[in-house]
Symmetry: C2
Subunit: 506 residues, 2 copies
Amino acid sequence: MTSPRKAKRGIPPKSDFNVWYPAIIEIADLVDKRYPIKGMDVWKPYGLSTMNLIDGLARSEMTRTGHQEYNFPLLVPEDLLEKENRLVSKLKAAREAGVDPSELRMDDDNSGFKKEVYWVTRGGENELEVPMFLRPTSETPMYTMFSLWVRSHADLPLKTFQIVNTFRYETKQTRSFIRVREIHFFEAHTVHADEDGANRQIEEDAEMVQRILHDLCLPSIVSKRPVWDTFPGAWFSKAADVVMPNGRTLQVATYHHYRDQWADTFDLSYEAADGQTKLCHQTTFGMSERLLGAVVGMHGDDNGLILPPSVAPFQVILMPVAAHADDSVIPAVEALADELSSAGIRVKIDDRDVRPGVKHYDWEIRGAPIRLELGPRDIAKGKCIISLRTGGKMAPPIDGIASTVSDALDSMADELRLRANRNFEDLVKPLPPLVGEEGNLEFAEQFEKGIVYEVAFDGNDSDAEVLEKLTGMTLLGDCDHSFVEPHVCVITGKSTQRRQYIARMY
Amino acid sequence: MTSPRKAKRGIPPKSDFNVWYPAIIEIADLVDKRYPIKGMDVWKPYGLSTMNLIDGLARSEMTRTGHQEYNFPLLVPEDLLEKENRLVSKLKAAREAGVDPSELRMDDDNSGFKKEVYWVTRGGENELEVPMFLRPTSETPMYTMFSLWVRSHADLPLKTFQIVNTFRYETKQTRSFIRVREIHFFEAHTVHADEDGANRQIEEDAEMVQRILHDLCLPSIVSKRPVWDTFPGAWFSKAADVVMPNGRTLQVATYHHYRDQWADTFDLSYEAADGQTKLCHQTTFGMSERLLGAVVGMHGDDNGLILPPSVAPFQVILMPVAAHADDSVIPAVEALADELSSAGIRVKIDDRDVRPGVKHYDWEIRGAPIRLELGPRDIAKGKCIISLRTGGKMAPPIDGIASTVSDALDSMADELRLRANRNFEDLVKPLPPLVGEEGNLEFAEQFEKGIVYEVAFDGNDSDAEVLEKLTGMTLLGDCDHSFVEPHVCVITGKSTQRRQYIARMY
């Protein structure tokens, strides 16, 4: 193990979140940001291993629900993008022609991904005839192939996923895991016979997101994004946002119902049982390394990371004590390690020749859930000493250690959920009545920095613009749980049960 | 499961290898080659899963030997490549200045990777100030970071690896897994205090390659590549080549000893225990999806793939028979599946409502090692029926099935090794004496197409050129096992024990 860069109590306090977050990521050895391209970090073993465990959670959900794993090429020829742009233009034209807004699918100024992608224009010393771009997401490459694969209703549903890196030519400020240019990405794409099939998929997606977030001990706000914030070509988009400790929301998962709009563009149709040719309905589901960003940001403290047991590379660090003075220590520690491993617990023996204090310090920073010490005196007593990263020590008997540890990991996860829920409750509040005049200092002060507001809102695009301008925040969209009692819309004054949130988003 | 495209006995005979190979890859559903960029295939679930298992073999060797997994960015700024090119130019200049040939490291016309890479020149609508290329391999991005990480002897050895896709602007004919433009790649990079440390690493690499090839049931020729075929910047390169059934050799693994040449270029030095600053010594190790190409090509037959048990996604296909007639069949099959899974065997129940013949046919094509049938009559007898993909049927008792299957998988792997060795012996022969005159038909006919020749060769560059021109083949380099008795060099006539091979290489 490389020792974390000596920051000896040099971790900034977490209360100064915007300083703490970028610091802890490097101090805990998750990534190295010194690679000479901004927004492209080097994943170090500890960070990569944590990310792989998060992937494992997603992969197991996908397998449970009958998705199959594929891997599509990184590069996409420009002419395929033209198809996507035609879809966007078509929908834009519909909006301009005054079509029912509920039928609209995208932001006005969205012209596909063209402005956000990296372009490969040369191979060796040759200019390429058709430029290619690095996938920002994989609708285009995938649907080109889906249209070859789907022939009849017997081929449906087609449920696919892949775990790949995607690329965005990001011009905003970059932040590790949160806004990067090479993105560790998780995407599922499904094809269904009809809208109902796609609806059921969206429900399954919602459930998968909640199961994964539960494993990561992260509460979230689930919203149906407003029309103008809907993914290009989608009928509607839903998203899960985590409220970070600085009160900004981080979108960690999205899922989109495409109806048959993409299918129309990509000639994705099938022969139904009755012999008719029908367009398919589609959905996508996306998550990324932002999940790790949320884990780091939500659970860490002034002493470093705290990793949820589900994704900690090492759930238990075994620390032999006074091993040089007593030959029985190392074999006893190894026996404990074997016993814990056999029970499916991820362990690491830290047998470095350094003081126990250094080991405690290093693994505190890295957020290992449990540190377990065993020395000659413990062996004599048939006990060991356990320190939980969330606080507290125990001296349980060595006998039955696997179930002791397993219980401790479970209760640690519960404790993290409790803390995260407390964070949520502290930072999410009902919007106070809008009093005074805009521009007035008193008026602006009503909106505390770092708070996410719950609002009753039933307005249209321009009402939302008013709300966003007044508060300096963004509307996340309709929350899954509407108000039980009628409320008054903060802008229109109409009675409504629509519960929405406004927030400063990452 | 998508049924393989109906090729009903439409598999070309394997004797026509160059037709069989590309056909079987698609028929067995490993990849789809219809993606609109040549040399970039879509990995389908069965192919990806097999590749992941191969990665698993490599990952477990790396872990066993203390390497740690990283992930470096895909894009490399052009100015970093300039460093690499300076290294190449320097060594070229040395050669031109008449330096001892044994000190030379690269082919004369090698000007780094510049001609072989894809260039990203645009981000969105902006021309990039510094163009970036897609990694063809990761010396440049990695060593840039290594020089930040390595400070003192205590940081050494540094043993890293990553599993990523790499990119080559390939102008030759592409072939799935063998010559592609997006390459599923496996690379290890190590840093040592001195040449001895790097030497030991090269020995460890050789051992890892042999262990992995053993698991894949692939014999190989291990050679030290001739100077002109050495990786740019390497002191020497070693490679393992598999002799494919058409007699062409496929390089499936390489490892390079860099001495301190790259370290010099990348300022990679450390403070030794005595306080002196010293240059590091480095090695690399590379493998790729070519391993899967070798597995497909070596073991398959006229009926489809044969996957070695170590990397078969499903080692046993369980086929319920007459399940509609007897309710006890499915539970009995599920119980068998559980028992096999618990023993660490990868199983799949094929409960499709199709005739058993179709199931046998499909899984034969996909090369599943074992098919297991269980019907009411078998249950009554307490037996099941097992068909091995390498041939043969058995009716073992259900009792103790896990160890029966496990033994069957082991002996199947042995059978594959036996067959592969037979292939090797059939295709590798001593070079007959060079009689007659070059250009003469009789002379050319001495060299059978599809044969790899063993030669005694002790010449220099130009002697090798003569040999290669005479035979139309390429010299693989010095084999690890030299001749026990002195032989006569085929070109110089000198006495030598150096055993080399010449072959048509992929």
